[in-house]
Amino acid sequence: MARAVTPTRRNLTTAAAWLVGFLIFFPILWIVILSFKTEGDAIGTPWHVLTSGWTTEAYATVQSRSDYFLHFGNSVFISVGSTVLGLIIAIPAAWAMAFVPGKRTKDVLMWMLSTKMMPAAGVLVPIYLMFKNAGLLDSRVGLTVVLMLIDLPIIVWMLYTYFKEIPGEILEASRMDGATLRDEILYVLTPMAIPGIASTLLLNIILAWNEAFWTLQLTTVDAAPLTQFIASYSSPEGLFYAKLSAASTMAIAPILILGWFSQKQLVRGLTFGAVK
């Protein structure tokens, strides 16, 4: 909707938008600033925080006092693992529904969406007990499977909306040119499907990285991802602002950067293709 406006108006709306953007982003900026302070400076007045010296001390302490890299590794394992596993199961399903739609395809899709309506608390007791009896509490593999199941409907939906956009005519054209089924899949469909698969991968890694019900319930130490690691700061270490800030900055930075790259896909993925 870009329309011509007067420069004054443009300057005013620009100022307003930047102000709002800054305020919304401010808490993140603030923890990044606090993470480069000593504990003593971090609890001072805002003025003191901004004018005191800078140090990377807090990062060093977080590193040496806790197994930050263990938890970071767990987060990577769980989020990437659950997403890749989900893709392996979802790609054939979404493919079939997009290219060989049947009478019930819409119903299956809506049903899959409905499984997302199950509140996690509703099945906490059975899942917890199953994990306990199977010795899967605090195991990365168990948690990976649960997160894969939670995100499977979103993965199928996202892929479906992407595959749906691959025009069928292109298949007919390639067949006319004498392509075999194998050629069709390898040289025609796959290159067109890869961007959609990549977007789905990215978004679901973000979702799994930030998941904070099952990761908190089913892990304690060994399999604990960053969500659980940060939760351990809730007391009394939360009073150590610089360390909490350093740990928080390290926990959100990688995913923030990934997220900024995937903002377009985010809309489509989270709205089940209803808004593009």
Partner: protein, 290 residues
């Protein structure tokens, strides 16, 4: 084009996903219902037996039950109100021609990618803490008494924290919808002499309905299950002031070890979610047809 053969292949390709989701839906659900009718305390695993409706009546007469239901609804509605109204206004602002729109978009979007435990702890300690938090410092500088947000207004404070996380999501989706608005339609209405207000009411709002429906649906799914933000800030307290249903289920089953009662609470949570879901699925189903 679909032959008998390709249909069979398609069914085979779909079945792993369907079977897994079916198991994921049915097995834990059946077990939840089963446990909810059993005497089952994790501390006394041998003391089992049929409990009838006992778990449900215990759960429903628990002094924390009605506050938890009320808080669950207040939390969902409060966050929805802030994010839909705020998101619409923000989307309208960002849709204007502004310098550096891309960067502002990134700034506004950022909180969505912050994991719930981080955002809750940061707000709790660095902002809402009455002594060392930023709001406390500001109040001090202005000569006002510091306000203990999480002690005095725990549910409101949690609503603010959760709304901060979801405002970017609502804004982004509504902005995407706004940008797909046909500019010729707007221009035509301008030429016909429509005022800015009537353009907004008759063109922009109807166009946004679908996106708003989607925003409300998706946020409701997630907001009914808010848990981490409560765990690291107030633990449901003081008293029951910020306890919601998921948190009460967690307390009953894993902190008080009454798995039977926890399961009964879980079944109630499922019923509540489904009542909401029926309305919302109907809305999204209708919208998806278009």
């Amino acid at each position: 084009m679909a032959t008998q053969h390709s249909r069979a292949a398609a069914r085979l390709m779909i079945s792993p996903a369907v079977v897994l989701l079916l198991l994921w839906m049915i097995v834990p659900l059946a077990m939840s219902i089963w446990f909810s009718f059993q005497q089952y305390n994790l501390l006394y695993p041998d003391n089992t037996g049929f409990a009838g409706w006992e778990n449900y009546s215990y759960f429903a007469t628990d002094l924390r039950f009605w506050p938890a239901i009320r808080n669950t609804l207040v939390l969902v509605l409060g966050v929805l109100a802030i994010t839909t109204v705020g998101g619409t206004l923000l989307a309208l602002l960002l849709d204007q021609p502004i310098w550096g729109q891309g960067i502002v978009r990134l700034l506004v979007l950022a909180p969505f990618f912050v994991m719930p435990t981080v955002s809750a702890l940061v707000w709790k300690n660095m902002f809402m803490n009455p002594v060392n938090g930023l709001f406390g410092h500001l109040a001090h500088a202005l000569g006002l008494p510091a306000f203990d947000f999480l002690g005095q207004a725990p549910l409101f404070s949690i609503i603010v924290i959760v709304a901060w996380q979801w405002l970017p999501f609502a804004t982004l989706i509504l902005l995407t919808a706004l940008q797909s608005l046909d500019s010729e339609q707007i221009e035509a209405s301008e030429m016909d002499g429509a005022s800015a207000l009537s353009r907004f009411i008759y063109i922009v709002v109807p166009h946004l309905t679908r996106a708003l429906t989607v925003v409300i649906l998706i946020q409701t799914i997630f907001l009914l299950s808010v848990y981490a933000e409560i765990l690291v800030t107030t633990n449901g307290g003081p008293g029951t002031a910020s306890m919601n249903l998921p948190f009460l289920v967690y307390l009953a089953s894993l902190k008080e070890f009454d798995a039977g009662m926890g399961a009964a609470g879980g079944v109630i949570a499922i019923i509540l979610a489904n009542i909401v879901a029926i309305f919302l699925m109907r809305a999204i189903g209708k919208n998806l047809e278009a």
